[in-house]
Amino acid sequence: MTIADSPTQSAKLDSKVPGGPMEDRWTNYKFDLKLVNPANRRKFDVIIVGTGLAGGSAAATLAEMGYNVKAFCIHDSPRRAHSIAAQGGINAAKNYKGDGDSVHRLFYDTVKGGDYRSRESNVHRLAEVSVDIIDQCVAQGVPFAREYGGLLDNRSFGGAQVSRTFYARGQTGQQLLLGAYGAMNRQIHAGKIEMHTRQEMVDLVVVNGVARGIITRNLKTGEYERHSAHTVLMCTGGYGNAFYLSTNAKNSNVTAAWRAHKRGAYFANPCYTQIHPTCIPRSGDYQSKLTLMSESLRNDGRVWVPLTKGDTRKATEIPEAERDYYLERKYPSFGNLVPRDVASRNAKTVCDEGRGVGPTGEAVYLDFADAIKRDGRSTIEARYGNLFEMYERITGDNPYEMPMRIYPAVHYTMGGLWVDYNLESTIPGLFVLGEANFSDHGANRLGASALMQGLADGYFVIPATIASHLAGRKLEEVTKDHPAFKEAEASARKRADDLMAIKGTRSVESMHRELGNLVWNYCGMERTAEGLKEGKRKIADLRSQFWTDVRVIGDQNTINQDLEKAGRVADFMEFAEVMMHDALVRDESCGGHFRAEHQTEEGEAKRDDEHFSHVTAWEFNGPDAVPTEHREQLTFEEVKLTTRSYK
């Protein structure tokens, strides 16, 4: 081992993880935190950017506590955030099924599922507060599925052998978000939240090293606005749309996070992206997004492909003996419920072998025939009816009669802005919540854990840890005339002017598509050093082409969706290069990051704990400069590092 590649701890990355026994850390930490006196809370202005599950829950709770909240979203209503689309469910260690679940087991499963690349203390806290989330949501009137006895029902999800997933048919995200939206509405009505819809954060304002405000563009009028506060919370979601095709909502973007990054917030583990195994395969070049079929389907659906290459018979005509239920065969104890990264990679492998099905050969079957035989059609309909309907609408096929065809697609991003135990980024006063931070899922997120994390961050973590900043630091008065606001606004205006002035020949959409193809091909389910180097070069070329040949139409002083999109794609272009750089530097395989050079004989991801048991956080040095690498060493006290096995 040379000195250069030995893991070192960067001084800038103090995780602030408390000591003491793991199960007491959060409790003790909260006790030791300074408090903001209730009477003083109204003196603090809190900006919350993004009102999905993370931002919505934070906004409601902080307003209830007495802070002055100003919340912002790009949608016309907070109810439309991308969180609304989550289908399958939310985990909690309630052990209502008496099947041996516990906080410790959820903690353990999450650390293991993340392939030992997450921070133990954060994950433990997440598992602890998971139970409070369910209580809170039920009290809000979230209509979770119930059993005949009137108690809450649970289902199982990938990567776990207990039933701990709470759900509301196939619309769990919708119901949870509407719960948080209701809680926000109550505070809007009470005058404690000032809600700004159709406003895009286009820059972060940092005054004397502390985050003190944002610049927004009013998407209806094109006006730029300055908003100041004592702290800024960014809850702006993930960056899956760097791949163009993903299961994310079309407006999901990296812009807010990226612009904060450019102002000094380090970006952690951008190469950790999750490819979800059960999505509807693409059908043509015009495809604008991919649709997820909830992973809960793997509870009852069996995944298979024909045993032999080039078998073109209809699925129902292929006899049992000529089918390969490859997940059940390779992983007898987890079967169809292996974690997502494992399921996705295996689908790719069988398709690469030429055993894929459907017109493109890029699909595998997800078959419900046995489940329907066993439980009856009406039971399956009650469980998955809306998903089957959705599938039928999109493909024109009826999954009650024909197995579904599925293929992996980009779905979630584990990477995000680096945060410490307080959820504070490397810019003091800037906190990052939900999918936008990197915190809890390591190199692979388990199903039903993102909703849990977003709500944990917003309902339970930030309301406590925000005091570390508000009560712990002396904050001078800052007004919107401060030169930092002027500078940030001017730079945001200039960026938009520059985009409008290019007047090239190519549509933003077509360039985003091209970028997505590059990212998928070079930094998708399988990555190699050679490919990543080439990908980086190609992205750099595409980026320079973008800035000379893109065509943005229309005016700036009205709704201009083309301009909005151009700004976001410009950021994706810069971001994608860092993502590939990160994937290149992480010379190991772990979770969703699969480097072909590092695999076991059976083709499983091979970690290199000696050299890579750390978080990589990147510091921005300019769009054309190589970012500086910082490392946070991960230590494991509770969970023993082993090779993940789901056999």
């Binding site: 689309a85 979770f144 009137g150 015009y286 609408r393």
Partner: protein, 256 residues
């Protein structure tokens, strides 16, 4: 642009509403495009927009996000029907295989007083948020909740509450109603929380406040046409309206 004809391609004539801003005059614009039967309706609009941009003309503005029928953003009236011809289907989930080569399709925004047009196909639906702000919640602070199993809820009630709660807030019900009434939307929330024990303590206050807010926002009255239920992509039932009417009458007796 010369493109090879692909299987499933179809020529479609579109008439699309163009309006520069609130209060500006608007009109239909006609365009011809090649779509494919596998495209979603919004992907067909993407194709149109990309062609417009590449020929230096302004694309049509329209709201969309999830493209899987859950966020409630998309809001197109297609040939006079909110979300188009397919039952229980949002515009984003509508596929071009519903149409035939040579078809003519007319696309316009929601038409309702309470939803003013912002631009082209985009309307301002913030009146819906105002109704929810008036009382569409249970007043419980974070951290103050009892254990989730403290109050069992009969499965039938929980399921009914869920079905009401499945509303995506798109506004198709208002757009379909001859009076532009928001009864279906408002009653869905009122029903959800009336059916659950958690909603009980604020039962009267909630329905009165939400109905008042609905009237203040300029929505029309319900005269039992039930176009709303037919247009609703989530199949929200008009039984919710009946339930809200009962709740309202009951609350008026108790509270006023």
């Amino acid at each position: 642009m010369i493109q090879k004809a692909k299987q499933g391609d179809m020529r479609i004539t579109l008439e699309v509403w163009r309006q520069a801003g609130p209060g500006a005059p608007g009109a239909f614009e006609t365009h011809e495009i090649t779509a494919n039967e596998h495209m979603s309706f919004l992907e067909m609009l993407d194709v149109l927009n990309q062609e417009l941009v590449e020929s230096g003309r302004e694309p049509f503005a329209f709201d969309h996000d999830c493209r899987e029928g859950i966020c409630g953003s998309c809001s197109l009236t297609i040939d006079g029907q909110p979300h188009g011809p397919r039952e229980r289907t949002t515009a984003c989930q509508l596929h071009m295989r519903t149409y035939r080569n040579g078809d003519r399709i007319k696309i316009e925004p929601w038409r309702a007083n309470a939803f003013p047009i912002v631009k082209d196909l985009i309307t301002d639906r913030s009146a819906f948020d105002k109704i929810q702000q008036a009382g569409g919640y249970v007043s419980v602070n974070t951290g103050a909740a009892p254990d989730a199993h403290a109050i069992p809820v009969a499965k039938e009630k929980a399921d009914l509450a869920f079905e009401a709660a499945a509303c995506i807030g798109c506004g198709a019900c208002v757009a379909a109603c001859p009076n532009a009434s928001a009864m279906l939307f408002t009653s869905a929330k009122v029903s959800q929380l009336t059916l659950l024990p958690q909603g009980e303590p604020e039962r009267e206050r909630r329905v009165l406040a939400m109905v008042d807010a609905m009237d203040d926002a300029g929505f029309g009255n319900c005269s039992n046409h039930y176009e709303c239920e037919a247009a609703c992509p989530k199949g929200i039932s008009v039984e919710n309206i009946a339930r809200m009417n009962r709740e309202y009458a009951r609350a008026t007796l108790i509270e006023r």
